[in-house]
Assembly symmetry: C2
Homo-oligomer: 464 residues x 2
Amino acid sequence: MEKNKIPYKIYLPEEEIPKKWLNLKAFMKEQHDPFLNPATLKPCTKDDLRPVFCDKVIDQELNCTDKYIDIPEGIRDFYKMYRPAPLVRAYELEKALGTPAEIYYKFEGNNTSGSHKLNSAVAQAYYAKEQGITSLTTETGAGQWGTALSMACAFYGIDLKVYMVKVSSEQKPYRKEVMRTYGAEVIPSPSETTKVGRAILKEHPNTGGSLGCAISEAIEVATSTPDCRYVLGSVLDHVTLHQSVIGLEAKAALDKYGVQPDIVIGCAGGGSNLAGLIAPFMAEKLEGKNNIEFIAVEPASCPSLTRGVYAYDFCDTGKTTPLARMYTLGSGFLPSPNHAGGLRYHGMSPILSKLYHDGYMTARSVEQTKVFEVAEMFARCEGILPAPESSHAIRVAVDEALKCKETGEHKKILFGLTGTGYFDMSAYKAFNDKTMNDFIPTDADLKEGFKSLPDIPQNAGVRG
Amino acid sequence: MEKNKIPYKIYLPEEEIPKKWLNLKAFMKEQHDPFLNPATLKPCTKDDLRPVFCDKVIDQELNCTDKYIDIPEGIRDFYKMYRPAPLVRAYELEKALGTPAEIYYKFEGNNTSGSHKLNSAVAQAYYAKEQGITSLTTETGAGQWGTALSMACAFYGIDLKVYMVKVSSEQKPYRKEVMRTYGAEVIPSPSETTKVGRAILKEHPNTGGSLGCAISEAIEVATSTPDCRYVLGSVLDHVTLHQSVIGLEAKAALDKYGVQPDIVIGCAGGGSNLAGLIAPFMAEKLEGKNNIEFIAVEPASCPSLTRGVYAYDFCDTGKTTPLARMYTLGSGFLPSPNHAGGLRYHGMSPILSKLYHDGYMTARSVEQTKVFEVAEMFARCEGILPAPESSHAIRVAVDEALKCKETGEHKKILFGLTGTGYFDMSAYKAFNDKTMNDFIPTDADLKEGFKSLPDIPQNAGVRG
């Protein structure tokens, strides 16, 4: 019986936690366009980035040649506390759907941050410590990234200031409390602690804040404090590098049972979890060794891949960062308030954007009521309460499995279950109470967002 | 290097999930005194219990002879979705304490209910289904048990009504929402849905409810509805039987590395997790094969073992259940509002009470501020945010490890980490804000509680 062959959960032994990250860029025939300094429109140099980021992650950010990069022992020791994460065969979901497809998911929610975010937080905090950095700053919206970095900083003994979007810190007091328990200072943003915060408060005293503003405050503190740096939890190439542990473990687990997926699916906000999940599979595809279908899933309310443009844009709404060429809705695009805070980002990882642009992966957008339908179903049959973000991937995995039911195809589907929804019960409440709505931007809404794209030569022809 | 020998986490392979539960009673030289029917003061028969509980669990409740009891395949299939639970070597905690002791913990929080409660919920729901029962009722306070049973009922397709202590359902709306997501009907208790609820509301219209009242409502519905039964999440012998998977897995994992613990520690509210953790180790002790020290840890605010009496008492404050001989503070004892809802129970598992009474285990009570001190420390170095209940065990494990630091002893300490604290952040907030107080009942408080003990011959000499 096959059921006896492949267990419900495959846990790799501890010694098989990856010893190297996979640097997907080194497998790509063409690199994504370089980050540009917005003042000069010239490619960013290491020196441009040094005041903001730690040296080691800048090296990783700009490394396009090394296919594998060593994971230091000090990072692996932390990884051992919560990794390897299980690769799960969704027997009960398959049964509930009555599908001939095999469904697998890599579950990254079995740690206190509740998501994959810890994989990069640990790495970035470790490198900061190694460089003699004594404090870090970051921003957080929904709170998973802030929690992950708090845990990492507590472990390595680094002070941390988290600028948390004010409206989130008010809606999620318990998220804030988890970060405090891990020793972080959580500051609702905008705040009186920075120049940019004070200026915004003067102009908009009642604002609930935004990620863009929180980023600007965190960068201001990092660049004006001795031995302090800023860290980011998604989008950038070094973050996707760290997240490759997801895919490497998933592939190693499947290889043990001779399973090669036909489809790999992940949700995509900034894109780091998806880039991490697909890394080793995509590397093989780029080498012509497989023909796997890769699907990025995004909310219909914030459809950067499916309805955005491929253009140079700022990574933050405050327009303080370097310019990245990526699929974007414009840094001025304001997504409607959907219930997947982690997917409400105007842009997309430059690596994923390039792969998508070059035809190596596809993308779909889904409406949140359809997402919560499968989230609830998944919770009831697989016993894990999924995060709203992760449930976007479940939606498409279920859709594909149902297609197999019609066609009789025996496809093997792998998706990333990035996290748990314990701190998202207000979203489930809206679904249970049937007060949840879908938000789909009109073409006019999108056009308005594209107006915020920087007016630079490289963008000629793509601005709305 | 020893560090390379024993991994951070030992996961048993799936096929090593126990195939049988261990029935500790069958190893005990003397049984605990029988449950009594309060009307006749005669031992409860199966027929007394049949209107309330499912037949199979009544058989298990009264089984004192079979040392091992088969776990049906249908239960093991559910177990496979979240078990085996990891046995963790607390390398980072040892390092932080600078102790020569080895510290191990069995982590039961890696499932959506957030605790060990699921182990018995699955079994009880399975047996209900097998018997043709179509609906179940239960009560819940803090909500972990209610969540666990909701998950089990969703899986086996059984309707569930959860009577949730009204004040808890108001304080923890998100806990309630998790249960709703798993399809349970959650009713704040006291309610208008039962006779007993209506009577209480008439007398005390503004009451916040109590576990005792919620139990009474749940039993009333179970006994007055066709094909409906009531289920309990702790205290009773069949619940401790189901929880033996904790200890069996822990022992199997340690045996693989030749580790025999010197001390086994667990928190104790109703006692089921502790009874489950110690089961195989205690069975060996009862056979004269080891001399392990077993320590039950309870809150100083609700010290049933350390300051209670060994007497016949009701299991609920409403005085509707059979009488159990156990360590108790009296069913009328009102523990001060501490932050470990799962440990605020006036009595203690009859099996554990008997073992304690006969000198096979010891008990300690700890104050909650001391508990949260180590909870925070543990979270920061081990990366898991522990439940307040579980943190009672951490407190004593740390105390023992620090003793080893003084004496230089190389003891091996095992404790049960029963669950996570994601829904207990208001407690952590009180600790972080330094507004948490300790509550220690005075002798007069205890005397008041003992007055509620039933005035029956068996209690002569122990009533306060």
